[in-house]
Symmetry: C2
Subunit: 644 residues, 2 copies
């Protein structure tokens, strides 16, 4: 095996480690030998043609390997994954090796043409696309079956031989980024382009959305303050505020699509062609022929999956929703009981008892959320979706519905069954502020504390006064492999989604919600940034062109909020007083206004273009060019054919 | 000029005329010479490389020209316009000349590989893409300015030198088609594939939609009959019928998308790449640089257009809508006045007077519709849209809104202001049946009579007992050029749209509406078929993958009908009787049910996939193949680069 490494070193003297592969302790020699051979093997022989080196630590070889690639290999990989880069004429084009000279900042000796995140993404892509040829199993592990075309890395992961693959941090870049991002207290935008270069588009887009959303909430917050301070509860001001909020929420969601297009155009992902999606690691089935690719791979009947979704998952989710409502009813009973108890025997103990139901309910909700989350993950995985994207969508839908109900059901109950506006305002404020404080704690204070502890631990371990910058590669890898894994933007978006619900669903009852949301989001940016840079392993960059299903979720919330706000306004005593004679007229007016607002929302969503005009023009230009190129090619062919 | 024709004849001995060009009488010789030269010139010299011949009639040359093309030229043209054809392995692929052998039914001597409609479409495309090189004007007409890249045919049309271009009928094919289509009374599907081969996809899709829509209405009609016969007005049956209708209308619109995908996949248009759209003939502006193509062409500021739309067109449309409502109010006043008059002096004259307001109103509506249509066309053309598609969308929107109001405003007024269900049912029946009879007359009897007259005229002119089949080419051309021009499917879809409104908006009041609609549509199929085959010039085929903006229009109508039906049911005495104590509860229940139904509709639209699974698989397969091909190409390149 030794000769392999030396061979590599002679080929690429300045080997730059990009990705770490950690194998299970005690992995068999023959497996390691086979895997490294496949990784370094020539493309023509079905290898990945990457570079690999074992990490040599003080304790000897620890089954940790560093993966890198030559500059040329990375450029060819960039073409394979379809990276889009800026050209010298400022247009964005898919990078191809043959046209490399036309790209901005390209030079044969400029190793920064591709960002480190892009290089790591390419290596990940190449590793995942390393496929079995005629191996029947992983050498040394007869139970880990292979078939031609099966991704080797995915099989290694599912059979536990491969513990993890993760990209390495770049200490220097990270320090620069964290300084400009959250290092100093400043008023200004986040360095989104730098974030994108370091963490990739998905994460940069989340931070872009978080920032945009915070800015977009400011008008609502500013208008909300005088309503709270002067207790403006006149009919006209009241309705104006709610109407503004409802239309504003449509506008901000439509404008976000435009901003998202601007960002992702600049980052190249708007133009990036969707790659063919491979089955997700957990997908299983009988070996058959995929009708799309014609390749042998596990096949699972779509009807079976539909049956599982509609006959098991759907009833289960409904049951959970029912159970959650049932728990809520118990809470309200308890609350009533505590109130009665307090009235009967007024004592310190009884007034303390008043808080008990809320605390129990909060704890139960948290527990239910956790259990449900596991159940949802289990069910969605049991549904056996072929694609990761479809798995994600089904999981998000399940979790979203349950969280929505858990967070808002009690508020809906108070508003539309108990008709108690005062209690609603109070509960809303309590829920919003509590959840924000809890989240801030879990996301900001906890990470801060973890980081402190981890710094102490590291210092102890290295037994020296070296700063982070001076850590040896082995120390860095050992440190990073112990860090937590960032599980994606799901929880971060969910938090924003629920916040949007608090702000918009009952906006006319509690105008201060937007103020709290803005304040929370400002610290959220800092705590999330800290989390990304210090707490978690570096995540692989994931190119994306939009925030996906979350756009739909936010839009649905804004439609629901039209309904709730109209009912709330209709129920308010100020509006009630305008229809002293007939409650009927009141209800009909409210229904009419609601339908009008919904119609306006849909028309606005239809009229506002999803992409700004200049992006549209640029996209049309690219499409026109490719059509012209095709035509030129055909013309040449035609001329030749007609000559014959 | 003479040598030109003989030259052509020698090249292509069996010249088949496909498209007719009619120039204005007295067009200058130099213009004709220049135009024919440009049409026959080689592609390399910027010509269209087509064949052209003057039509020689008994009266000598009449400025009518026959255009054709060699078989090879048509095949190359098929590649240029991006025709998609079936391959030997039953997959659909874009035709390319180099891969011609892999296509089903292709043989070098099989001149039926391309249908005549496809050939005509190719010739139209080539003619329209014949562009000015460095001509500053059309020779002989200094006022008809040209600039490099301007479409010559479009300039000839706008300056009146070119009277018309139309494709020639194929007598034999037409006879076969009309026999299988409407020639015999039979129960069965229309020959959609044959219609598509002869008239192109847009028209075939209209007939497909008409047929599908008729079938889809049958369940509603069948369920509606017992309601009418037995006068079932119990609460439960009543609500069931309405609910069924509302959900059914969502289902049929979603299923249509799937059927549309199946049809257009088979016809190849689902896969056809959108061509770059040229400015529409009426578009004008200052000569500038198109930011997309980089070519010199008229440019018109988008802001100016937006101003025209929002500051002139929108207020004008609103004014017209207001005026239409005003006229409706006058009609109701007149109606009341006539009723009072009849009560005061009961006589034969006074009972006749009862009908006068309705007749006047019907006539006024018809006049208003006509005037408005002209105004809408004028305004939309004045808005100066660059693309035909955008012009069409704005025109359709304008006409749709006005027609919707004109047809349904009086019904809405009767239902929701007068609360007179009996009058509503009566008016609905009158309006529906009258409009159907009028349409049937205008579309079926009138064409039949026109055809008879035209047959007589033709017989007189040819002074012989020759059948149509034996007509000489000159006679056929002269006959066809006098026929009316089919202006597109707009009016046909509009009729179906309004019918859908009559059936769905007030379905719970008049269950028989669906029965009348079904009966009407069966004859409609025959009359429309007759119209296409006998009354109008053959239209150019227009490839399309869906029914475009009409899908949206029908979906909007089905959303509105949820609202109207819920209100109607809420107002019915049967439902009213269920809430004897509180009208409030009634209104709230109705509102709740309406929101539930709307939510179900949106969820159904979201859950039902727009394309059937097998079409999805086929599309995915094609995409996968093209990605694989690209990858292979890159791999080859990579292997070469890495060798260096």
């Amino acid at each position: 095996m030794g000769e392999n490494w030396s061979f590599l070193d002679s080929v690429e003297p300045n080997f730059r480690p990009l990705v770490i592969i950690e194998l299970a302790k005690g992995t068999k020699e023959e497996t390691i030998e086979w895997l490294t051979k496949r990784i370094v093997d020539k493309k023509a022989n079905g290898g990945a043609q990457l570079l690999i080196k074992p990490l040599l630590t003080e304790n000897g070889v620890e089954n940790i390997y560093l993966v890198g690639a030559s500059h040329l290999r990375l450029l060819l990989g960039a073409e394979t994954v379809g990276l889009v880069k800026e050209c010298n004429d400022n247009s964005m084009r898919a990078f191809t090796y043959s046209s490399r000279k036309t790209f901005k900042h390209f030079a044969d000796d400029n190793h920064n043409f591709l960002t480190m995140a892009e290089c790591q993404y390419i290596i990940k892509h190449e590793l995942e696309n390393l496929r079995a040829k005629n191996e029947k199993m992983i050498p040394g592990y007869p139970q880990a079956k292979l078939y031609p075309g099966k991704s080797i890395v995915r099989r290694l992961l599912t059979s536990g031989i491969l513990v993890q693959i993760f990209p390495l941090h770049d200490r220097e870049e990270l320090k620069k980024l964290s300084h400009s991002w959250y290092g100093r207290v400043k008023v200004g935008y986040q360095p989104l382009d730098d974030i994108r270069c370091y963490f990739g588009e998905t994460i940069a887009l989340y931070f872009g959305f978080l920032e945009y959303f915070t800015f977009a909430l400011i008008p609502m917050a500013v208008i909300g303050i005088p309503y709270y301070v002067f207790a403006w509860e006149d009919y006209d001001k009241y309705v104006m505020f709610a109407t503004f909020n409802l239309l504003w929420s449509t506008v901000i969601l439509e404008v976000w699509k435009r901003i998202c297009a601007i960002l992702t155009y600049r980052w190249g992902t708007l133009l990036m062609k969707r790659q063919f999606e491979e089955p997700r690691p957990g997908f299983h089935g009988v070996l058959g022929i995929n009708p799309v690719t014609g390749r042998e791979e596990p096949v699972y009947s779509s009807i079976k999956r539909q049956l599982r979704i509609y006959l098991v998952s759907l009833p289960f989710v409904c049951l959970c929703l029912y159970f959650s409502l049932y728990v809520m009813m118990i809470y309200f009973d308890l609350e009533q009981w505590a109130l009665d108890y307090h009235k009967e025997n007024e004592s310190n103990f009884s007034s303390l008892m008043l808080y008990v139901p809320s605390i129990i309910y909060a704890v139960v909700i948290e527990i239910m959320n956790r259990i449900y989350r596991y159940a949802a993950e289990f069910l969605t995985s049991w549904e056996n979706h072929r694609l990761e994207s479809s798995y994600q969508n089904h999981l998000i839908l399940k979790v979203l519905v349950f969280n929505f109900l858990n967070c808002f059901a009690s508020l809906f109950y108070i508003a539309f069954v108990l008709f108690d506006m005062k209690l609603l305002r109070q509960s809303l404020a309590t829920l919003l502020i509590t959840s924000q404080i809890l989240n801030q704690f879990a996301e900001s204070l906890l990470p801060y504390w973890l980081q402190k502890r981890y710094n102490r631990r590291m210092k102890k371990r290295t037994c020296s006064k070296k700063t982070h910058m001076d850590l040896s590669l082995a120390e860095q890898v050992n440190m990073e492999k112990e860090m937590g894994t960032y599980l994606g933007t799901f929880d971060d978006y969910l938090e924003l989604f629920l916040q949007f619900g608090y702000v918009s669903l009952f906006s006319c009852v509690y105008p201060l919600a937007a103020v709290f949301a803005v304040l929370n989001n400002i610290t959220e940016i800092y705590s999330d940034a800290l989390k990304m840079c210090r707490v978690y392993k570096r995540p692989f960059a994931e190119p994306t062109a939009n925030i996906g299903v979350w756009q739909l979720a936010f839009e649905t919330m804004s439609v629901i909020s039209v309904v709730t706000n109209c009912i709330l306004i209709g129920m308010s005593p100020q509006v009630d007083a305008l229809f002293p004679d007939s409650k009927m007229d009141l209800v009909l007016t409210v229904a009419l206004v609601e339908h009008l607002l919904l119609a306006i929302k849909f028309i606005m969503a239809f009229v506002i273009p999803d992409k700004p005009r200049d992006i549209q023009t640029k996209l049309a230009k690219l499409e026109f060019e490719s059509l012209e190129a095709l035509k030129q090619q055909q013309m040449k062919l035609a001329a030749e054919s007609l000559k014959e």
